[in-house]
Symmetry: C2
């Protein structure tokens, strides 16, 4: 594995080896990562809710194993390809949060369902439910299906309440499917920065979810699993008593977007910045500027710019400078010579991780391990 990840002179276990990393490098501060995993596990235990963290954030079998060891039931996967990659790496308890609708996808889903334990799958469409049932029956399998309910963003899931009841019944009536529960994920509420505003929206939506769960119970279809939530709303969701498990993802790493969110309503920040990007200054011929080797291919670009954490003079800022480069804009009179290393906070952790083949895991200034980004690019 290490060979395949191309060590390039990266020295595992040697003090100071972080400063010898080839860059741009996707760095994990292992102490911060483990503290985040422990903090969320403790939070879930305290609120008597289960965790199935979302692996779309880290795409890593190593991190999934740490989350499961800390008490998680398994992990969520955004795509079939992600679930295949984690299953091959030995991770069980996988829940796929996007529908699989093509014949070739359903064929792969059946192979995965046979190979892994505790798989579940969302659906939000009657014809898709029938297709899953036919495929599972043909493969002599039982498939756990979770009905996706649209919380109001109209991205995926069922919006009409009568349709929720009808589709749950339809899943229940399928011989080869097991109605395992419901999913309710409010993606657009996760980054609402003010706690009071987020609280109000979550409570409104959760009232509808609670009513639907109750109706399903009364109709003899109690959802064993009620899954949803995210890092931004976990604190509110956990106290409502409707979700049985949380799909939190970004808490393991944090990023500039989530740092701006008042997660617990008291301005405290329960999680540390575990994900960092190390980059090297490769050109410094112009006053006030230094050029780093991390650009548009090294960071997600859908959010704000990366934030400098270390290595640059106080008052410096980073801005994108093309596909391969970043500019460190320096305060008057300051310099940053070639060969210097800067450390950045990633702007949006999930799509940043997807750009790298490996994590360089550090403890202080020592490289302690290299982990593959197991499901990198497995979006199909």
């Amino acid at each position: 594995m290490l060979e395949a990840l191309r060590l390039h002179g990266d020295l595992i276990g040697k003090q100071g080896s972080r400063r010898r990393l080839n860059t741009p490098a996707l760095v994990i501060d292992i102490e911060a990562l483990d503290a985040n995993i422990a903090a969320m596990a403790e939070f879930a235990r305290r609120h008597k809710v289960a965790l199935r963290p979302h692996s779309k954030t880290h795409k890593s079998a190593d991190i999934a194993r740490r989350q499961i060891k800390a008490g998680a039931l398994g992990v969520c996967c955004a795509k079939l390809g992600e679930a295949e990659a984690l299953s091959e790496a030995g991770i069980g308890g996988l829940h796929i949060t996007s529908a699989v609708v093509t014949p070739q996808g359903i064929e792969r889903l059946m192979a995965l369902n046979a190979a892994t334990r505790g798989l579940s799958m969302v659906a939000d469409d009657g014809q898709n439910i029938d297709a899953l049932d036919r495929a599972a029956a043909a493969a002599k399998q039982k498939l756990n299906v979770i009905l996706d309910i649209d919380p109001g963003m109209h991205r995926t899931g069922v919006w009409n309440d009568a349709d929720v009841m009808a589709l749950a019944k339809r899943i229940g009536a399928c011989k080869a499917l097991h109605f395992a529960g419901v999913q309710f994920y409010s993606g657009r509420l996760q980054h609402v920065e003010a706690y009071a505003e987020r609280l109000k929206s979550v409570l409104e939506q959760t009232a509808r979810l609670a009513r639907l769960v109750n109706e399903l119970r009364q109709a003899g279809m109690p959802p064993a699993i009620v899954t949803g939530s995210g890092t931004g709303t976990h604190q509110i969701d956990a106290t409502q008593g409707v979700f049985t498990e949380l799909q939190v993802g970004s808490y393991v790493f944090m990023d500039t977007q989530y740092e701006a969110v008042d997660l617990h309503g008291d301005k405290s920040q329960p999680f540390k910045q575990a994900l960092q990007i190390d980059s090297t200054i490769i050109s410094a011929n112009s006053p006030g500027l230094a050029t780093a080797d991390a650009g548009l291919k090294a960071f997600a670009t859908d959010g704000p710019a990366p934030v400098l954490m270390k290595g640059a003079p106080e008052g410096s800022s980073y801005r994108f400078f093309g596909d391969e480069y970043g500019a460190v804009v320096l305060p008057e009179g300051k310099q940053l010579p070639i060969g210097s290393t800067i450390t950045c906070q990633p702007p949006h952790c999930d799509p940043t991780v997807n750009l790298y083949e490996a994590y360089h895991v550090v403890k202080g200034d020592t490289l302690v391990d290299i982990w593959p980004v197991t499901a990198r690019g497995r979006s199909r």
Copy 2:
């Protein structure tokens, strides 16, 4: 190779197999790609300038081979890791367009220089030049160094004209280095959409370059290679007689950004849209909306939104809908059922390619091959 790229039921050579692709898929229209490669090769022959196309666009040994077969001298690489990957795949004539400044990077560079033929490398700093010389001498090698001149964007290269002369002399004085020429790349002019405006800026910059080249000749240091240019300025650069070779990249694929650029000043478009993204509709429960399986992890997000080319009703548009999804916004009364395939023009080709592990190569509606993205993620 095919096994490693996970066929997932993709059927090579079978008519209609494009419609069975697992998605999101990075698709190459092979006829458009070959037409683009032939058109640029013919353009270069007509203008008596050499080509060393930039592989940072495609990161593909298969495409590099096609460009070289059509007459290119080799390919440029943005990063050392890219050059290593293409060298391992048998591509020669590599020129690395970013400086390598760390001890561990220089060590790798020497190994690459020993393993590949016709390698060249940029430098823009005196101490870096000395470090390259020491390493090459210690390895008993000769390294081709191209002096990077800053065309005025202050990203990389030497800005001060006196420094250009001094550093060229410094390279020439190094026993283990060969002064192979100069690089002059105007990244920020490539996307100036109006021809007249781009022309004016290029001519101003080229006058300085011509003067510097002349001074180097008079000082007994004639630059055998004068490399630079890009898809946006190639037509102007080729007619100025200063560049000996062009680093054009995006012309092989095209994207929405370059489609907006009047490349030849006559509103003609000499290149075809060869790179396309196929995506599947996976949810369609809300009027006026359908949700596709390609989102922020399937397209570059530093530019405009992807543009729908095929598969959606006239008047539809695509917008990002989170990490894993895109929204197809439909005209009043139109629908797009789950399982439908849409095809999008990528917004910015280089960082889009970097997100995928493979190209799915099609001719009409038939999948004819799968090519790895050889240097994917090899940014370090």
